[in-house]
């Protein structure tokens, strides 16, 4: 019942949204109700772990199967929670937006696909759902048109490629083992040949790396996610990418198993997981440094979000209980802080109409809730106590060091440095500094839009203080996957490897903050002046002179780094497209337009066929 509702409700939502496509109020109400109901049924489903379901019809002689696992529930809770909050925020934000009539339709389609992916019990169901999810993502993003269309097209090409690689992997597994079922495949995997193991690893991990935006397959993400409607940007960046991670977890731990994968020793301690770890670190460093130079708030968050995905992956491939636990926890952290950051930015956009940081500034007084939301988010993002990002990163660093991967840990820390630079730019350019003249009339967003931000702030902080709530589920997932569960207590962990009591850390940190604020209050007060009460190069400014010291925020740094930012990926994408074009060009030159030549081909085909097949007969 609860399980089928997860699928029935979105379908109902899609149908009703299509019927009431012109009635905004009803549409919003229906969808909010549905997302709320989904949360409810999702919680009910916690009692059904281990159950399996089958669709009443089969095709290709295969039945479509589903199963409820802790892993799936962890993901579905994240999906439904964030959906509900995003839906609340969307209520007002999406009103009378152009090109948004099918907003909920595509969103629910994607949701349906995501449910299918996480609950599927076989690769056929998985693939079908995967496709539904990818196309849902595409339509969600593309519907806004304009630059979103271009960005989504890039996503789509990546997504189709990834789906085809995935399909190849699935088909190869089917050809070898004659089954799509996860359960049967995982049994069969223990005695797979090394060649097949490498092939399937490359195909599956490669395919999922696209969706989870692992370097160097990440370049589609920032534009695609940021060009769409802002609530959707928030939603996508907080959860969509993690479905790729789900695929990686599924393949590494459910299908193949760590012990099988670790048979692939490359040199000494460097095994296949280490290789993925290297990519994870690159995913942290390269995009995060790119984030520093973004001028658009959403793009900046997207770039740094890619880096956060790298932390998740790094934790998961570390192989230790701590690391996997940290990786899983970081998914939840990301979910909330990415969302709270982007919803706060969306709140700013709702009032100012832009996300271009060069055009913003000094909004702290005008939109304090958005400021607090963003602040909470970036603290978490930067991995600073007392927010949940700190907890997950602490686990990940610790596991890397304990497992003997110091280089990976160092790489990850370099990433953190860049993250701090990036998020400082974000908060400074939007909320601090001088208020621009045109934003004098800006007000805080209404309460219904504040609500999700407040809830998320609480979660970002609460889940850090009481990580045990989250870890209780993660430990169950780890046991169900045959891994060592992470040792946890309500407010931290206690192991021989060292312990962490978040309650203590939080209290200390909050106390520190209070002291700092008091120092600030006692100190020199700035003088607030209007934008044009200013001068540059001896001239007073007016509206005609576009002067803004937010622009080129890290100009000096950009100058230093510019030669190294070779945009290799953008270039290789271009050359790949060009290569396809060139191949097409060469191939179509076969068709010379000369009919004599064509006639020649026919008889030549006969002669060649006769030569080739003459030996066969």
């Amino acid at each position: 019942m609860a399980f089928s509702m997860l699928f029935i409700l979105p379908v109902i939502g899609i149908v009703l949204s299509l019927i009431f496509v012109k009635v905004d109020f009803l549409k919003n109400l229906i969808n909010l109700t549905i997302f709320g109901a989904l949360v409810y049924f999702n919680i009910l489903l916690l009692n059904s772990v281990g159950e399996t379901f089958k669709l009443p019809f089969a095709f290709l002689g295969q039945s479509l199967t589903f199963r409820v696992t802790y892993l799936a529930l962890y993901f579905s809770l994240m999906i439904n929670g964030i959906s509900f909050l995003t839906a609340i925020f969307s209520w007002r934000f999406m009103r009378e937006r152009e090109n948004s009539s099918l907003y909920y339709v595509w969103w629910l389609t994607k949701t349906l696909g995501m449910f299918g992916v996480i609950f599927s019990g076989d690769f056929l169901t998985f693939f079908l759902s995967w496709e539904l999810m990818s196309w849902g993502t595409y339509f969600v993003m593309v519907q806004r048109g304009g630059a979103a269309a271009k960005a989504s097209y890039k996503y789509l090409v990546y997504a189709i490629s990834s789906a085809m690689v995935l399909l190849a992997g699935i088909v190869i597994l089917y050809a070898s083992f004659g089954t799509f079922s996860f359960a049967e495949l995982s049994k069969a995997y223990s005695n797979i040949s090394t060649g097949m193991l490498i092939l399937t690893l490359v195909l599956f991990i490669g395919s999922f790396s696209v969706e989870s935006a692992v370097f160097p397959l990440h370049s589609w993400l920032p534009d695609a996610y940021s060009e769409t409607f802002s609530p959707m940007s928030s939603y996508l960046s907080s959860i969509s990418t993690r479905l790729g991670t789900y695929g990686i977890i599924l393949f590494l731990f459910v299908i193949a198993g760590v012990s099988v994968i670790d048979r692939l020793q490359i040199i000494g301690a460097i095994n296949f997981r280490y290789v993925i770890g290297v990519f994870a670190v690159l995913t942290i460093i390269v995009p995060t440094f790119t984030a520093v130079f973004q001028d658009d708030a959403k793009k900046l968050v997207m770039w740094s979000g890619i880096g956060q995905g790298g932390y998740v992956l790094l934790g998961i491939v570390s192989g230790s209980a701590l690391g996997i636990g940290g990786g899983m926890f970081h998914m939840m952290s990301m979910l909330t802080f990415e969302s709270v950051i982007l919803l706060s930015i969306a709140a700013v956009e709702y009032r100012t109409g832009t996300t271009n940081m060069n055009k913003l500034g000094g909004l702290i007084k005008k939109q304090p809730v958005a400021f607090i939301g963003l602040l909470a988010g970036i603290i978490a993002l930067a991995g600073i106590p007392p927010m949940n990002g700190f907890v997950s990163k602490w686990f990940i660093y610790r596991s890397l060091i304990l497992s003997g991967y110091p280089f990976l840990a160092i790489g990850a820390m370099i990433g953190t440095l860049a993250t701090i630079l990036a998020v400082y730019k974000l908060i400074h350019n939007i909320f601090l500094g001088q208020l621009r003249e045109e934003y004098n009339g800006v007000k805080e967003v209404p309460f219904d839009m504040q609500l999700p931000i407040w809830i998320l702030i609480i979660i970002v902080w609460g889940s850090a203080v009481f990580p045990g709530i989250t870890f209780s589920l993660i430990a169950k997932i780890q046991s169900s996957l045959g891994l060592t569960p992470v040792p946890y207590s309500l407010n931290g962990i206690a192991t021989s490897a060292g312990d962490l009591d978040m309650l203590v850390v939080s209290i200390v940190f909050v106390a520190g903050l209070v002291v700092a604020y008091m120092v600030y209050l006692l100190g020199h007060r700035r003088k607030h002046v209007i934008q044009y009460d200013n001068y540059a190069a001896g001239h007073f400014l007016n509206k005609d002179i576009p002067y803004n010291y937010n622009a080129h925020f890290y100009a000096g740094m950009e100058h230093i780094f510019e030669p190294y930012r070779k945009k290799i990926i953008a270039r290789s994408e271009k050359s790949l497209a060009a290569l396809t074009g060139t191949i097409g060009d060469y191939l179509r030159h076969i068709y010379t337009g000369n009919v004599s030549t064509y006639a020649y081909y026919i008889v030549a085909a006969f002669v060649i066929g006769a030569i080739v097949l003459g030996g066969v007969f």
Partner: protein, 121 residues
């Protein structure tokens, strides 16, 4: 040497010769009309091959026009029917081809196949 000059060798020589000459024209001649003629020549070669499949040495046309003619004296009528069909079809195609060529010539002013390449790639 003498066993080389048999009916089938003569027929094959004529047939293959026409097919190959016709195809050679199709491959190498630039004039569209000649190309169509080349096709026709090759078709004639094939028709010779086809009609000869029914030939039986020393036998006559399969028409019982007077009493005394026996079936065993007659050649196979089927290939004649086939070749009649093939000829008529070939005729139709050739006529149509020429009509197309005429029309195309009116439009493009050329019969050179290497110039009639408005469509390629």
């Amino acid at each position: 040497m003498s066993n080389l000059i048999t009916i089938e060798n003569i027929v094959y020589l004529a047939s293959f010769g026409l097919i190959l000459i016709g195809l050679f024209i199709v491959f190498s001649d630039k004039n569209l009309v000649k190309l169509v003629i080349g096709l026709d020549i090759a078709e004639t070669g094939v028709n010779i091959l086809l009609v000869s499949t029914g030939y039986i040495q020393g036998k006559t046309a399969p028409i019982f026009s007077r009493t005394g003619l026996k079936a065993s004296q007659m050649v196979d009528p089927v290939p004649q029917a086939l070749v009649l069909t093939a000829i008529v079809i070939g005729f139709g195609v050739t006529a149509l081809a020429l009509a197309l060529v005429v029309r195309l010539y009116q439009k493009t002013g050329t019969l050179d196949v290497s110039e009639i390449r408005g469509l390629k790639w």
